[in-house]
C-alpha cells in the first residue's frame, strides 16, 4: 500500500513535470491533453516503435532511420556522402559506390526516399532515393540497411522529380529539374528556348534482386520537371510530372518562370512507351554514366561505366504523352490511393488543383485538345478538372492520403498542414507547423494502402523551437495523430541535415527480415581471412597486404615487422565473430583515412602509407568487450633501405 502511494506520487510528479514544461512553452496547451500527447509518443525502454521512418538528409546526402511515434534516431545510412564513422567512401570496398562520370564525388543532396511496392502496397524490400546534384538513384537494401546500388542518370541535371516507384516496382523514375543541351555541347545559354531538353528516365528494377538498369529516357521539351508520381490502381501504367518554367527562361527564373498563368502536369503512358521500346523503338545515344553495385558476398562494390542510353522522342509515340494545364508553377504532384485524383499544388497559386484521371482519358479519347507544345497534345483545363480546394492556405506543396478519403497538404508560406476531403474539396482541419513545412509523410501515404495513423511534417526552419546552437540550428520533423477528425500535434524532433522527404512503413513488415550478421562461410571477399591459420602478411613490391582477423579481444597478427617507409600497406581485416551486434573497428595512427567498422563475418580494407620510422600502434575503435582496451597491436616501420624481413605474430615472444 505504501509503495502504491509512493508510485502514484512519483507519477504525479512526472505528470507535473510534463505539464509544467508545456505550460512554459505555450499558454494554449492543457495539462490533460499534453500528457496524453506524451503517452502517445512514449515508447517504454526496451519496447519497439510501431513504424520505421526513413527520412532523407537533404544536403547531408544520407538517409536517417527513425522510429515512430517516438522520433528516436536509430541509424544514419550513408548513401551519397562519405561517412567516416562507417568508412563509407573511405574503405577500399565502398569507394567505387561514389564513382560517377565525373570521378569520385564525396557528397550529394538526397531528396525523395520511396519504398518498393507490390500491388501498390509497401513490400519493404528496398528504399530508393535520389541524389539531386550529380544525378543518381540509390537503392538501400532493407535487410542490411545499407546502400547496395547507385546508378548515375545521364542527360539530367538537378535530379529532382525522382525517385518514385510504380505499383509493382516495375520502374523507379528520375527526372531532370534543369533542362540542358542533350547531348551536352558548347552553346550560348541565350539559345535555351527550343534547344535545351529535359529527360525523364525510366529505370527498370529487377523483381528478384532489385538490380537497376536504365530502360529508356524520354526526351521532353526544355521545361523544369519538378516532382512526379506514378499512377496507382486504375491509373497504373501512367506517370505524372509537374513542370514549371514552361516559359523556358534561362535567367532570373523567380520572375521569368512565373509568367504563365498555367504550367503543365505531364502525363506519361509508360506502358505504351515500354511496348514501343520492346518493339525496337527509340534511338541508342552515346553517353557515359556509372553503375555501382555492392555485393554482400564479396563485401565490395564495383563500378561499371555504361556508354549508351536508349532515347525516346515522345512525338514519335502517339498517345504516350499529354500535357495537363495546371495553375502557377505546380510543385507537388500526388496521386490518391485509388489512382483517380492527380493533385497539383501550384506553389504560386491560392488553390490546390485536382485533375480527374477518368476525365483525362475521356478527353484524350475524344481528342479534345487545346493545342500542342513541341508535338505533345495539351488538354483543356476545364475538361480534366475534378475540382479544386479553394483558398486553403499559402504556398501549397505536397499532399499525402490517409486511405479514408482524406488528403493532407502542406503549405510552406503559411506554415501549416491542411486536411481536406477528396470529392467535396472541403477543408476539414488545419494545424500549424513550426515552421515552413516542405514535405509531409503518412506511412504508405503515397501508395494504394496508407497506414493513416500518423502524419510526419518536415520543417525547413525551426528558429526558436529548440535550444540555440549558434547561427546554424536544426531542422525538424513534427508528428501528428491523424486518427481523429482533427489532427493533433504530438511531437517535435530534430533531424539530420534537411529532412526533405520521408518514407514510412509498419515495423512488422521489415524488422523480422533485418540481417543480424554475415555468414563467414559465404564471405567471398578476395582478401578475406576466414581462419587464424590463414593470417599472413605478403609483400608485393612496395605493396604490403596484411590479412588480419579480429575477434574478442585480439587482432591477429598484432605484431608486424618488416614494413618500410614508402610502402603502401593494405589492412584487410575480417571480423571472425558470428554473433549478433559484435562489430569490431580498427584505426592506425597517422593513416589518411577513416576507421573501419566491420560487421561479424565481413571483410574491409583500409590503406596506410607509413611515412615515419618507428613503431606505430593500431587499435580496435568499437567497444566490443571488457578487454576492448587490450585489443591493439604494433607495426614496426623501418627505413626505406632496411632489409628486415616481413614477420608477424600474435601471442609469441
Amino acid at each position: 500500500m505504501k509503495n502504491i502511494i509512493k508510485i502514484s506520487i512519483g507519477f504525479l510528479l512526472i505528470a507535473f513535470a510534463f505539464t509544467s514544461c508545456n505550460n512554459s512553452n505555450s499558454s494554449q496547451s492543457k495539462g490533460a491533453l499534453s500528457s496524453s500527447a506524451a503517452e502517445k509518443v512514449y515508447v517504454a525502454p526496451g519496447e519497439h516503435d510501431e513504424f520505421y521512418a526513413f527520412v532523407s538528409g537533404g544536403f547531408s546526402g544520407q538517409l536517417a532511420v527513425y522510429g515512430l511515434p517516438s522520433g528516436r534516431l536509430f541509424k544514419v545510412i550513408p548513401v551519397f556522402s562519405v561517412d567516416a564513422e562507417k568508412a563509407w567512401g573511405f574503405n577500399e570496398e565502398t569507394k567505387p559506390m561514389l564513382n560517377t562520370s565525373y570521378g569520385f564525388i564525396p557528397w550529394d543532396d538526397s531528396h525523395h526516399p520511396d519504398i518498393s511496392q507490390t500491388n501498390g502496397e509497401l513490400d519493404g524490400r528496398w528504399v530508393f532515393i535520389n541524389g539531386n546534384n550529380t544525378p543518381r538513384i540509390a537503392k538501400i537494401d532493407l535487410t542490411t540497411f545499407e546502400t547496395t546500388e547507385i546508378i548515375e542518370i545521364p542527360n539530367t541535371a538537378g535530379n529532382h522529380s525522382s525517385s518514385y516507384v510504380t505499383d509493382n516496382t516495375e520502374y523507379v523514375i528520375a527526372g531532370t529539374r534543369f533542362s540542358i543541351p542533350v547531348p551536352q555541347r558548347d552553346m550560348s545559354i541565350k539559345e535555351y528556348k527550343g534547344n535545351f531538353k529535359g529527360t525523364l528516365s525510366f529505370i527498370k528494377v529487377d523483381p528478384e534482386d532489385g538490380g537497376m538498369e536504365i530502360k529508356f529516357q524520354l526526351l521532353m521539351p526544355g521545361f523544369n520537371y519538378d516532382k512526379a508520381h506514378p499512377g496507382r490502381g486504375k491509373s497504373h501504367g501512367w506517370f505524372f510530372y509537374t513542370t514549371y518554367n514552361t516559359e523556358e527562361a534561362h535567367s532570373l527564373l523567380e520572375v521569368n518562370a512565373s509568367q504563365n498563368d498555367k504550367d503543365f502536369i505531364a502525363a506519361v503512358n509508360w506502358k505504351k512507351i515500354e511496348e514501343y521500346v520492346n518493339n525496337g523503338g527509340g534511338t541508342m545515344m552515346p553517353t557515359n554514366y556509372a553503375h555501382n553495385v555492392y555485393d554482400d558476398r564479396t563485401h565490395s562494390a564495383t563500378s561499371t561505366m555504361i556508354k549508351e542510353v536508349l532515347m525516346v522522342d515522345p512525338s514519335e509515340v502517339p498517345g504516350a504523352v499529354y500535357f495537363l494545364p495546371t495553375p502557377k508553377s505546380p510543385h507537388g504532384c500526388d496521386v490518391d490511393p485509388t489512382g483517380e485524383y492527380i493533385v497539383g499544388s501550384g506553389k504560386l497559386s491560392s488553390n490546390v488543383t485536382v485533375h480527374s484521371f477518368t476525365k483525362m482519358l475521356d478527353a484524350i479519347e475524344n481528342e479534345k485538345f487545346a493545342g500542342e507544345a513541341y508535338g505533345i497534345p495539351i488538354l483543356n483545363f476545364e475538361d480534366i478538372l475534378a475540382g479544386s480546394v479553394e483558398q486553403p492556405g499559402l504556398g501549397p506543396l505536397h499532399t499525402e492520403f490517409d486511405g479514408k478519403g482524406n488528403a493532407y497538404t502542406t503549405f510552406f508560406i503559411s506554415s501549416e498542414v491542411v486536411k481536406w476531403k477528396l470529392g467535396t474539396w472541403e477543408v476539414l482541419d488545419r494545424k500549424p507547423t513550426y515552421y515552413s513545412v516542405g514535405h509531409l509523410m503518412i506511412p504508405g501515404g503515397n501508395s494504394q494502402k496508407p497506414y493513416g495513423k500518423y502524419l510526419l511534417a518536415m520543417n525547413k526552419i525551426t528558429k526558436d523551437r529548440y535550444l540555440p546552437t549558434g547561427p546554424e540550428v536544426t531542422q525538424s520533423a513534427q508528428l501528428y495523430d491523424i486518427t481523429g477528425d482533427k489532427m493533433e500535434l504530438l511531437l517535435d524532433f530534430p533531424t539530420v541535415g534537411e529532412p526533405h522527404y520521408a518514407a514510412g512503413i509498419p515495423a512488422d513488415l521489415i524488422k523480422s527480415k533485418s540481417k543480424k550478421l554475415f555468414n563467414l562461410e559465404e564471405n567471398e571477399h578476395p582478401y578475406a581471412t576466414k581462419t587464424p591459420a590463414d593470417v599472413k602478411v605478403v609483400r608485393n613490391g612496395k605493396e604490403v597486404h596484411i590479412y588480419m582477423t579480429t575477434i574478442r579481444s585480439n587482432m591477429n597478427p598484432d605484431n608486424i615487422e618488416g614494413v618500410k617507409v614508402g610502402d603502401k600497406v593494405y589492412f584487410h581485416v575480417t571480423n571472425l565473430e558470428q554473433d549478433y551486434d559484435v562489430p569490431h573497428g580498427i584505426a592506425m595512427i597517422g593513416a589518411n583515412t577513416s576507421e573501419l567498422l566491420i560487421m561479424p563475418g565481413q571483410t574491409e580494407t583500409f590503406v596506410w602509407y607509413p611515412k615515419k620510422v618507428g613503431v606505430w600502434p593500431f587499435y580496435c575503435t568499437d567497444f566490443c568487450s571488457a578487454l576492448h582496451q587490450e585489443m591493439q597491436g604494433y607495426v614496426r616501420v623501418s627505413p626505406k633501405n632496411s632489409n628486415i624481413e616481413l614477420s608477424w605474430s600474435l601471442g609469441e615472444d
Binding site: 505504501k2 502511494i5 509512493k6 506520487i9 512519483g10 510528479l13 550478421l517 563467414l520 562461410e521 576466414k530 581462419t531 587464424p532 591459420a533 582477423t549 575477434i551 574478442r552 579481444s553 585480439n554 591477429n556 571472425l576 565473430e577 558470428q578 554473433d579 559484435v582 568487450s625 571488457a626 578487454l627 601471442g651
Partner: protein
C-alpha cells in the same frame, strides 16, 4: 514526508547514475582486476583453478541436457568437427595450449559432454547461470567466449573432435 525523502533520494540516485558513470566504471574495473589477480595468487596453494577443476556431473545450463557417446570415436564426425573448430574456434583456442581461452585437450576428463556443448552453443547464458563457467571467465581475464552461432549438430561434431585430442 518520508515518501518525499525516499523519492528525492531516488532522484538523486537517478541523476548520479545518469552522469559521468562511464569513467568511474572503468577506473573501478581496473582496480578490481588488480585485486583479483592478487587473490588468485594468494590462494594458489590451497585452491584448484577453475580450468583444472574436474566436474563430471555438472551438465551446465543450456539447450543440451543429454548426450550419449558411442564407445568408439566416429572419425568422420570428428574430422568434420576438426574443420569447424579450425574455422570458428582457433582465434581463441589452440588445441593443446592455453591461448586466449583454455585448450580443449583433455577436456573430456574434466567436463561432461553436455557442459561442453552448452558452453559452445550459449556462452553468455552459461556465464550467467553456471558458476563454473563464470569462474572460468574470471580466470581468463574476463575475456568473454564468443558465440559463433554453431548449430547443435556442428557443436556435437566439435565435441567428437575433442575426443580425439
Amino acid at each position: 514526508m518520508k515518501t518525499l525523502k525516499t523519492l528525492s533520494i531516488f532522484f538523486v540516485l537517478l541523476v548520479l547514475s545518469c552522469g559521468g558513470n562511464d569513467e568511474t566504471k572503468k577506473e573501478s574495473s581496473k582496480v578490481k582486476l588488480k585485486t583479483t589477480e592478487k587473490k588468485v595468487e594468494a590462494k594458489k596453494t590451497t585452491t584448484t583453478k577453475p580450468s583444472e577443476t574436474i566436474d563430471l556431473v555438472n551438465k551446465g545450463v543450456g539447450p543440451i541436457t543429454s548426450v550419449t557417446l558411442a564407445p568408439e570415436v566416429d572419425q568422420a564426425m570428428a574430422a568434420q568437427g576438426a574443420s569447424i573448430y579450425k574455422k570458428m574456434c582457433t582465434a581463441c583456442h589452440k588445441p593443446d595450449k592455453k591461448f586466449i581461452g583454455p585448450a580443449p585437450k583433455g577436456i573430456m576428463e574434466r567436463r561432461t559432454p553436455e557442459w561442453i556443448m552448452n558452453i559452445i552453443l550459449d556462452p553468455e547464458g552459461m556465464v550467467k547461470n553456471d558458476p563454473l563457467a563464470k569462474a572460468l571467465l574470471m580466470e581468463f581475464n574476463g575475456s568473454p567466449m564468443a558465440n559463433q552461432n554453431l548449430t547443435e549438430e556442428e557443436a556435437r561434431a566439435v565435441l567428437e573432435y575433442f575426443r580425439t585430442l
